[in-house]
């Protein structure tokens, strides 16, 4: 009688322990899977950021014309299906001095359009760089001298 009782008690305790183990295991597995899902989403978003930068390099172009009256006309071609927001320019001069122009209200270049921007400079530049935001990602366009 006691032997049967002992076996029964052990089985019940064992069963309860297995159930607890199952609950612990299931909840942690759920948490880990949830976290893995978040991880995958973030990875995909980071990969999108890199794609955006790469797309901006390949699908945008910039040309500048320098006029002797110290005016610089920049033509920006946006072939991206997304708008670009210009945050500023960096103009590099032959004596390696530079000039930073910040655009107060972010100038928006709509998708598949060309924008013309005119700025006053101190002399003929060596290089012109336009800093742009695509979504929330910052990148730049190297503006070439128009031939």
């Amino acid at each position: 009688m006691v032997t049967y009782m002992s076996r029964g008690l052990s089985s019940i305790v064992g069963l309860i322990l297995i159930l607890i183990a199952l609950v612990v295991f299931t909840s942690t597995t759920y948490n880990i899977l949830n976290l893995m899902n978040e991880y995958m989403n973030i990875n995909s978003m980071i990969s999108n950021k890199q794609t955006l930068r790469s797309m901006t390099t390949h699908l945008t172009e910039g040309y500048y014309i320098y006029y002797p009256n110290r005016t610089l006309v920049i033509n920006l071609i946006n072939e991206l299906p997304e708008p670009l927001r210009v945050t500023g320019y960096i103009i590099l001069f032959p004596n390696i001095s530079y000039h930073i122009v910040k655009t107060e209200d972010l100038c928006i270049i709509p998708p598949l359009t060309t924008s013309k921007l005119t700025i006053g400079v101190d002399g003929e530049p060596l290089g012109v760089f336009v800093v742009v935001l695509i979504r929330d990602e910052v990148t730049h366009i190297v503006v070439k001298k128009s031939s």
């Binding site: 002992s6 052990s10 612990v24 500023g88 960096i90 930073i100 760089f129 800093v131 990602e137 910052v138």
Partner: protein
């Protein structure tokens, strides 16, 4: 025949003690297994969570290195940086894998800044150097040219 015991009546612990022993053993093994599973999964969870947090910061922060120009006469590097929409802290700048002293900078949202750094190596005219910027959101690399 007196004094002769049947094989089932051999000397041992009582059935009550054996029940208690069995219960204790079951409890001990069960607790160990639950503890082990919980510990392993907790460690895995913490590991993934810290990586997710690091990646989330990487996702928000954005830095663009526009150009890097070196000067052989002053042994200086001009580094043009453009920041994204959130404040960003630059932790260290490396020139040809050598860290630049006091290169920790904080950039305001949408700030464009040209930073002048003292090169930790001797820059040679018409040579190319590598600049690595380590910031809160990861790192960026650009190659610069020594002009003068």
């Amino acid at each position: 025949m007196r004094g002769r015991q049947s094989p089932t009546n051999s000397v041992g612990v009582s059935e009550l003690i054996s029940t208690l022993l069995m219960l204790l053993i079951t409890l001990a093994i069960g607790t160990f297994i639950i503890g082990y599973i919980s510990d392993v999964s907790d460690r895995l969870y913490t590991l993934i969570k810290s990586d997710v947090e690091r990646r989330s910061v990487e996702l928000i922060k954005s830095l663009d290195i526009v150009f890097a120009i070196g000067s052989a006469t002053n042994n200086e590097v001009k580094l043009a940086l453009a920041n994204g929409i959130t404040e960003l802290k630059i932790l260290t700048v490396y020139i040809n894998e050598v860290p630049v002293e006091n290169s920790s900078i904080t950039l305001e949202p949408l700030e464009i800044r040209v930073v002048i750094l003292k090169a930790p190596i001797q820059l040679l005219k018409n040579s190319v150097f590598k600049v690595k910027v380590v910031h809160e959101g990861g790192e960026g690399v650009i190659y610069g040219y020594v002009y003068e």
